[in-house]
């Protein structure tokens, strides 16, 4: 299978062609369109107060949601792999929910829960504003990006097994020392990959955040919402420019991860 050079080349062309058509060309188009009229218009749009605010807010989402989901993800993976129980398949299925449910539905469910008449409506009535403000957007971001660290960490934990941890305990390490000195270093690449995916997801999240934020310019608008608003207002340079910033942020995340990995392999 695949030893035939013709079929090998055929597969390569097919694979690369597919990627080019679906991923590369659209991204290149954005790049091209952004700078069609020079660097001025997109730069102005991004450095406008609303644009800068959207960028800051997006980074704030990342700074809050990613660490929380990382800690939760590692803990949850440890629970699933190291503490076998009958509840585990249920927990496992619940963790996958954000993958299965459309982000819009997630946003709507948060809206129902915290909005007027919802179970947690009392929070808003007592001055703790969740909807149309940052806390609600953080909740939505955490919800949609929750499974990544768990999903990436579970197989690595399974693969390393428990021998190293048991060896550490016979050498006198307590649970905490074993985790920091043995378990975490062994799973760090799985965790790092989960963190990268979580970051990318939080950066780009649109559906759930739109619903809970109300997308108020300069207040509850993240970069993806800013892009959409600019697009709706026919302010295309702003939309393209902000898109490019988003794409660059994602690329930087991936690149940083690759650098770290190369350092590790060396």
């Amino acid at each position: 299978m695949g030893a035939n050079p013709a079929s090998r080349w055929g597969l390569r062309v097919l694979g690369l062609g597919y990627l080019t058509m679906l991923l590369l060309i659209p991204l290149v188009m954005i790049f091209y369109k952004t700078f069609e009229d020079g660097i001025g218009p997109p730069l102005d749009a991004i450095t406008s107060p609303d644009g800068l605010h959207a960028l800051k807010l997006t980074l704030l989402m990342v700074v809050i949601a990613v660490p929380l989901n990382t800690i939760f993800g590692i803990g949850c993976a440890l629970l699933l792999v190291r503490h076998k129980s009958k509840a585990n398949p249920v927990i496992d299925a619940i963790i996958n929910l954000p993958f299965a449910v459309s982000p819009v539905v997630i946003g709507l469910s948060l809206f129902l829960l915290y909005g007027t008449g919802g179970w947690f409506a009392f929070l808003g009535e007592n001055g703790i504003k969740i909807l149309f403000s940052v806390p609600g957007m953080v909740l939505a971001s955490i919800f949609v990006s929750l499974p990544f660290v768990v999903r990436e960490t579970v197989p690595v934990l399974q693969e390393i097994g428990t021998d190293q941890e048991m060896a550490a305990s016979t050498l006198g390490a307590n649970g905490w020392q074993t985790f920091w000195k043995v378990t975490l270093p062994s799973i760090r690449w799985g965790v790092a990959y989960g963190v990268v995916l979580t970051t990318a997801r939080v950066l780009g999240e649109f559906g759930a955040v739109t619903i809970v934020s109300g997308s108020i310019s300069g207040q509850t608008q993240t970069l993806p919402l800013f892009v959409e608003k600019q697009y709706q207002n026919f302010s295309l340079p702003g939309a393209y420019g902000a898109s490019l910033v988003l794409a660059l942020l994602a690329l930087i995340t991936l690149f940083a991860m690759n650098l770290l990995k190369r350092k590790e392999d060396a």
């Binding site: 048991m166 060896a167 550490a168 305990s169 016979t170 050498l171 006198g172 390490a173 043995v182 270093p185």
Partner: protein, 345 residues
């Protein structure tokens, strides 16, 4: 002193891994836990280390009750079949792990680690990672790591199981020499009876979660407590109710009273040792172990009718004893003395 286990029971679901097991391991001895897979030997070892909780029973290490203690407080060194090397640490850091946990000073740690690496002949490789070592080297590193914290007892779980035959033999004799130098009470688990007899001074034979018999290699071979021990520690033929070792079969061309008539089915030359397979009148297949010169004297060929006489047989009343302590006494038609079979504590 040493290690003692009293009435250990452990169940995994429907599987009784340990069924009222008691053993005594004398201080400073090198003891093998020998048995087929599923016999409970590894579970017993892990229970001694604190890596497995017992359902009931007591573990005493050097006179101190260790039953409820977590592994990290038992002062045991444990060596795993698949090394359990810390893959992200260098050889040096692996060996230094226990010392760093104990907050040793840098200089003392370094001195001790290099001392141990010298002992296990890895002193040039301190900066390597486990992935850059061979299996034998990894296991020696694991041993150095376990010894670094000066454990009261050393426990090895099939330590050579993942290594190839040649390395295995080298490490075996090396472990025995190491034990002669250090005198730390050592238990190692193996399913290989030859390995157990080669390395250990005392053997504990386990089967189906129970101790069948314990004693020296010679005790087990010459005075097996039951059929299981007899067939596990060496080759055996069954003749009716009697068990005969293949080297205790006398082959002759003339019939004597009580001889079994047999036909030579196959002659296998294994170097010095010759293995001859026979089939008896009732269809039973047995084999005898002869030397080259014995074979030459007899001039046997395949298909020939000969007469077999066991020079020594054993028979056992019933199967393995219910209390699992190997108390049944072999009775020997040839009049071997029934010197007490050492029972497990």
């Amino acid at each position: 002193m040493g290690i003692s286990v009293e009435g250990a029971c452990k169940r995994f679901g429907d599987f009784q891994a340990l069924d009222d097991v008691s053993i005594d391991v004398p201080d400073g001895s090198l003891t093998a836990l020998l048995g087929p897979s599923g016999s409970g030997k590894s579970t017993l070892l892990r229970a001694i280390a604190g890596l497995e909780d017992l359902d009931s029973g007591q573990v005493t290490i050097n006179g101190e009750d260790a039953t409820g203690k977590p592994a990290q407080k038992r002062g045991v060194g444990f060596v795993f079949q698949h090394y359990a090397a810390f893959k992200h640490m260098t050889v040096y850091d692996n060996v230094a792990f226990g010392l760093k946990i104990r907050k040793w000073k840098k200089q003392e740690t370094s001195r001790r680690v290099h001392e141990l690496l010298q002992l296990v002949q890895l002193d040039g490789l301190a900066g390597r990672f486990p992935s850059q070592l061979s299996g034998g080297q990894r296991q020696r590193m694991a041993l150095a790591r376990a010894l670094a914290v000066e454990p009261q007892v050393l426990l090895l779980d099939e330590p050579f199981g993942a290594l190839d035959a040649k390395v295995r033999k080298d490490l075996r004799s090396w472990l025995r020499r190491l034990h002669d130098e250090m005198h730390v009470t050592t238990i190692f688990v193996t399913h290989d009876q030859e390995e157990a007899m080669d390395v250990a001074g005392q053997l504990v034979v386990m089967n189906e979660g129970r101790v069948e018999q314990s004693g020296s290699a010679a005790d087990l071979y010459d005075q097996p407590a039951n059929e299981f021990v007899m067939s596990f520690v060496g080759e055996v033929n069954r003749l009716g109710d009697h068990f005969v070792r293949p080297h205790d079969m006398t082959v002759s061309l003339d019939r004597d009273a009580g001889d079994e008539e047999a036909m030579v089915q196959r002659i296998v030359a294994l170097g010095f040792e010759i293995r001859i397979e026979f089939v008896l009148g009732d269809g039973t297949e047995v084999w005898a172990q002869l030397t080259r010169s014995e074979l030459q004297k007899l001039e046997l060929r395949e298909g020939q009718i000969v007469y077999l006489r066991p020079s020594q047989t054993k028979s056992f009343s019933g199967d393995s004893p219910p209390d699992g302590r190997g108390a049944s006494t072999p009775h020997d038609p040839q009049g071997d003395d029934d010197a007490g079979v050492p029972a497990a504590a």
